[in-house]
Structures are given as C-alpha cells and as structure tokens.
Symmetry: none
Amino acid sequence: MSPRTSQQYEQIRAKSKKKIFQAAVELFSSQGYHVVSVSQIADKAGVAKGLIYNYFESKDAILQEIIHQVSSEMIGFMSAMEDEKEPKKRLETLIRSTFKLLKEKKDFYSLIMPLLSQPSFSKEVKQSLASFIKVIVQDMEVSLSNLNVQYPRIEALTIGAMIDGIAWHYLLIYKEKYPLDEMELKVIAYIRQLP
Amino acid sequence: MSPRTSQQYEQIRAKSKKKIFQAAVELFSSQGYHVVSVSQIADKAGVAKGLIYNYFESKDAILQEIIHQVSSEMIGFMSAMEDEKEPKKRLETLIRSTFKLLKEKKDFYSLIMPLLSQPSFSKEVKQSLASFIKVIVQDMEVSLSNLNVQYPRIEALTIGAMIDGIAWHYLLIYKEKYPLDEMELKVIAYIRQLP
Amino acid sequence: MSPRTSQQYEQIRAKSKKKIFQAAVELFSSQGYHVVSVSQIADKAGVAKGLIYNYFESKDAILQEIIHQVSSEMIGFMSAMEDEKEPKKRLETLIRSTFKLLKEKKDFYSLIMPLLSQPSFSKEVKQSLASFIKVIVQDMEVSLSNLNVQYPRIEALTIGAMIDGIAWHYLLIYKEKYPLDEMELKVIAYIRQLP
Amino acid sequence: MSPRTSQQYEQIRAKSKKKIFQAAVELFSSQGYHVVSVSQIADKAGVAKGLIYNYFESKDAILQEIIHQVSSEMIGFMSAMEDEKEPKKRLETLIRSTFKLLKEKKDFYSLIMPLLSQPSFSKEVKQSLASFIKVIVQDMEVSLSNLNVQYPRIEALTIGAMIDGIAWHYLLIYKEKYPLDEMELKVIAYIRQLP
DNA sequence: GATGAATGAGTCTTCATTCAT
DNA sequence: CATGAATGAAGACTCATTCAT
C-alpha cells in the first residue's frame, strides 16, 4: 500500500483520459454529438460518470479537445508535403496525403464533417477547421500559380471541392461501395494534365 | 354568429401551418435540429407551443415534412433536363439546375447538408436524400457513356463530387466570399472539354 | 329562413346535450374518466369540442351530471318496493330490482364502481352514492328486524355485501362468464331461509 | 477519499427506492394513480424528481412494481392454508387470512380495488389480480365439493362475493364505522352451517 | 346554436453536472 | 484517483378550456 509516485499517478491519469477520449470519439462519430449522453461515454469507456469531470470540464469540452486533436493530426499529416517544392509533385503529395488521411482516420472525418455543418458549434472551432481547408486551398493556389495555370484560385478551389466532395460522398452517401482508390487516381490524373 | 365556413378554416390552418413551418426551417437551418426547441419555434412563429401539435405530430415530424418538401423541390428543379436528350446539353442543364437550386434555395441546402451527415437521423430520410444524389450521378453516367467517355462511372462520380464539394465549400466554409458563378463556369468548362 | 321558435331551440338543445351525455357515459364507463379526453367525447358525439362547453361547465361537470342521473335512476328502480310492506317480499323485491338494474344498466354500474373507489372525486358525489347504499342496507335492516332476525344490522350488511360483491365480480372479474342468474336465485334462496 | 463500497451503494439505493415506493403507495392509494403526479411523489418522498427515474422506468412502472408486491404478499398470506386439508378448516383458514390481510394491508387493498375497476389499466396487471381471485374461488369450490355441497361453484362464488363485498363496503363506503370483526364472524358462521 | 383554432399550464422524462465518500 | 447517487433545469408533448366568427 505504498503511496503511488506522482509519475504513476500521471500514467493513470493519462490512461483514464485516453479511454474516455476514445469512447467519445467513437460514439460522437457514429451517433452524433447531441445524441450521445455523458453516461454512454462513461459506459463505453468503462469508468464512472463522475470521473469524466475529472478530466474534462464539460461534455462540450470533450468535443473541443477531440477537434483540437483532429486539427493537430491533420496538420501533422500534411507536413509530408512541406519539403516538396516542385509544384506538381507538391500538389500530388497533398492529394495523396489527404486520401491517406481519409482512409486511416475515417472516424475523425466522419465526426468532423457533421460538426462543421452543425451551425451551433463554437465559432472558434469551426473557424479553425475551416481555415485549415482554406490554408490547403491557398497552398494549392500557389503551386498552380507557379504552374502558370490561368485562374489558379478557381483551379485550386476546384481541386479542393473535388477532394471534399469525394470525402463527402464516400463517408456519407456511398460508404463501402465507393471506388475510393479509383477516385484518387482520377484526381491525380486531373492535376497531371494541367499545363 | 355562425361558425366560419370550412374554407375559411382551411385558410386559417394553412396560414398557421406555414408560419410554423417557416420558423422551423429558419431555425433548423441556422442552428441545427437538436439545438432548436419546440418553444423556440413557437416563439419565432408567434404562436403558442401547443398549436404546433395541431399541425405536426412531433418535432421530428416537422423535420420530416421539411425534408419531404426539399425532395419535391429538388425533383421539380431537376425536371428541367427531362427533355434534353443530347448528352452534353443534358449534363450542362443538370449542372445549371443544380447551381440555380443552390443559389435560390440556400436555406434548404444549409439545412439538408448537416442532416445528411448527422448519423442519428431516420434512415428513410437519409436514404431518400442519398438516393437522390445517386440518381443524379447515374443519370450523368448514362450521358457520359453516350459520349464514349472511357470510365463513365468514375467521371460521373467526379463531376458529382465537384458539385457537392462546391456546395459544401460555399455553404459551410467560404460563404459569401465564394466565387460561385466562376465555379459554375468552371464545371461547365470541364464537361465541355470531354470528348 | 324563419327564425326558430324557442321551442325548437329547446329541442335542439336537448338533443345535442343528450348526444354528448351518451358519448361521455360510454367512454367513461369503458375507458375511465381520466383517460378520456374532451376531444374524444366530442368526436364520439359528433359535435365540435367547443359545443360541449355550451352544455356543461367542465369535463368534471359532465361526470357530476351522469352520476346525478344514475342516482335518480337507482332511486326510481328501487321505488318498485315502496308499496311492499311484508318484510320477506320487500327484501325479495329489493334484490330482484337490484339484479334487474345490474343487468339493464350495466354501463352505468361499470362507470360508478370505479368512481366510488377513485379517492379523488368530489366528496358530495361519493357521499351521495355511498348514502344510497347505506339507505338500502338500512331498509333491509328494518325488514330483518321485523322478521325478528337476531342481528338485523349484521344480516343486512351481509346481504348488502353479497349483492355488491356479486356486482363487482360480475362486472370486473368474471364478466360474461359469471352465472348472474344463478347467483340471483342463490341470494333469494338465502333470504327465504331466514326465520 | 475512496468511493463507497458497492455494499454501501446497495444500501443507499435500497433506501431511496423504498422512500419513493412508499410515497407512491400512499399517494396512489389515497388519491388515485392518474391524479398523482411524479412531482408529488418526489416531494412526498423528499427526493428530486429526476431520482425517481434512477429507480423506476416510468410512472407506470412504479405502479407495476407496487402491484407485483401486493400480489406476492397476498400469495404469502394465503399460504397459511396450504397445509390444511380438512375442508371446513381450510375454508375457515382462508377466510381468516383474508380478513387479516384486509386489516393489516388496508393501504394496499385501497389501492388495488380502484385499479381493478379502472378500465384503462394494463391487461396483465388486471388479469393477474383477477386470476388471484379466481384461484381463491376455485380452491373454495374444491373444499365445498368435498363437503358434498349441492352446487359447489355457486356456493364458492357466493362466499367470494360476500368477502369482496365486505372489503368493498369497509374500504369505500363505511370505513371506520364498519363492524369488520362481526362480519368476519358472520362469514365464519355461514360456512360452519354448511353440511 | 355551432365550430374548431388557439392557448398555456401542467405532465412525464432526460441528462449534464455536482458532491459526499 | 474513482464512484455513482442525487439534483434540477429544460425538453417534448397533452389537454381542458376559451373565443372569434
């Protein structure tokens, strides 16, 4: 019964929090934020309801934190293209990264898309996610500029729309039946034919 | 005094129902279904809470009816291309109709997109909307087939993704700042360069 | 379009009120007072909801009036024995009348029994019905006294309990399967064997 | 501090549930199920409204549970006669048990009688209570058969009607003024004079 | 006399959050 | 750190009653 060291405590804390976080991600993404109750999260996480409030200020705070992490992960994923200077390669890398993200982090995507559209969420969160998209589009715009495409902004927005449209159709309309790989190739082909 | 004629009652009913319906559309689309309370709808419509239940079975039923109307309107809009047999013209008409719809029924669209993504909504509703998209894509596939495009399905899905991606970016990310008209032209240009 | 005479109005009034009254009796007795709504009564009566309030102060008032009528009818039925002075005959007549009432006014009885037990009803009403029973029992007590039965009050209460117990079993437990006629004979036989 | 042991929780739960249960019994039996609101129960029990739903699925479920307990207690009480084989003794035991039940569990009885008559209650519940009565009557019928009574069924129904009639008069008509003990003796005397 | 749209107080129920242990 | 009983505000919905016509 020796008292735990503060390091041990730290580990316990981290573990519990993780469990709650995971449970929340799964439930929110599969059922939607409003429909999921704190009790459900606790059940799924296998902890007592009250414990959740040791780690998160509120139900809303859980969501905030999830979104925060999503943003970080997205940025991390995207950093793959950081070093790529050659415009076409850069575009291609960006697209491949996005599709990779889409496949590997399907859960997060499914969670984020509805949230972005849910009009009642904290402006900041939505803006941070929206601005993420904007940054990507802007990056593409620069690449396209360098390629001397005539209307680089329109072209960038088009490619962006294609990608997000594909994600949308994949996650919400066609699901398993969507030819995601072929679509990826199609987008790659599209940018390859650019001047 | 004698009671009102049944015609008068009909009018009164229609008017009240409309008020409630309108209020619900505005609130749902600007704040999201779950966040809006029946009391809010009543307040906005300027009627007593109870009256809502004279016209709608439940809060959910209001949504159903809204969606039903959206579906009808979509189908109506799309019928513009019914007579167009020439493949390229048909594709073009379809695209123009969609953009028109997007501009004129912005409210409805903003309401529908989140709903489609909200995982917890009645399957029927989501399926009916999803199948609407599928039908459009299939129609495009036929046109593209007739044009002897190599992979008509992939091409159809690409155009579909572009359109929905544009809608998504317009309604949820860029809003007023989105160059919707230029994007429309871009999509038209895209199909024109097809074989 | 000659104006109706006041007599005609009187008839119309009486007719409408009767319709409402009947509908209420049937619904209350088959479903219970609290469960039946004013709208249901209006529907069943084939009149507008509002009309009910032309004839009755409130939902409760309808019930009061029904009960009032039941009381009157009971008293009327019982008057059959008024002239019968001979004790045994008098008792027998009373029993026969009760069973007749039970058979012919089953609806009313079914309505009254629950109400009597429902603790929350207007004291007056309940007391008036309770006192009806008490009066009957007292009448029997007198007859039994005249027959020199040893404990006329206990005997009267016993016969009263038998009758009401039979009614209770018939209406609420066994229903159609209850041998009501045999039970009537049994009660008659019981009093016949008294001294 | 460490959390309570699960045993402690069990006790707390049992205690709270009991408080709610008790409050419901008293209110339902004194005012009637429909008239009592969940808030009233909570107030009387001295708990928050919401807590009730930690222990009962719904208002209706409270009633179900009460009735379930009544049934159990009735069966328990009646088991006194299990071993009694001699017909007259068996009948007598049964009657004494019933009167004992009537005196000791007056509250429950007052609650049950109205419910049985209330037409709108769950069939199961009513049938289970009705069948309880039927079982008792049948048991008496067997005993009476063994006594070679001429019409054992009619006789059994008569005794049953007497008992329930007495209960009815006692609980709902005469209350404190009812000579319950004398009536008990009277019923006993009645069966003693059987062949 | 008759209609039925409209009202709003009141009902049951849910659930995020607190807190004693 | 962890538990889950308890709270109460808020939500969807019902229904007796009113009232303009």
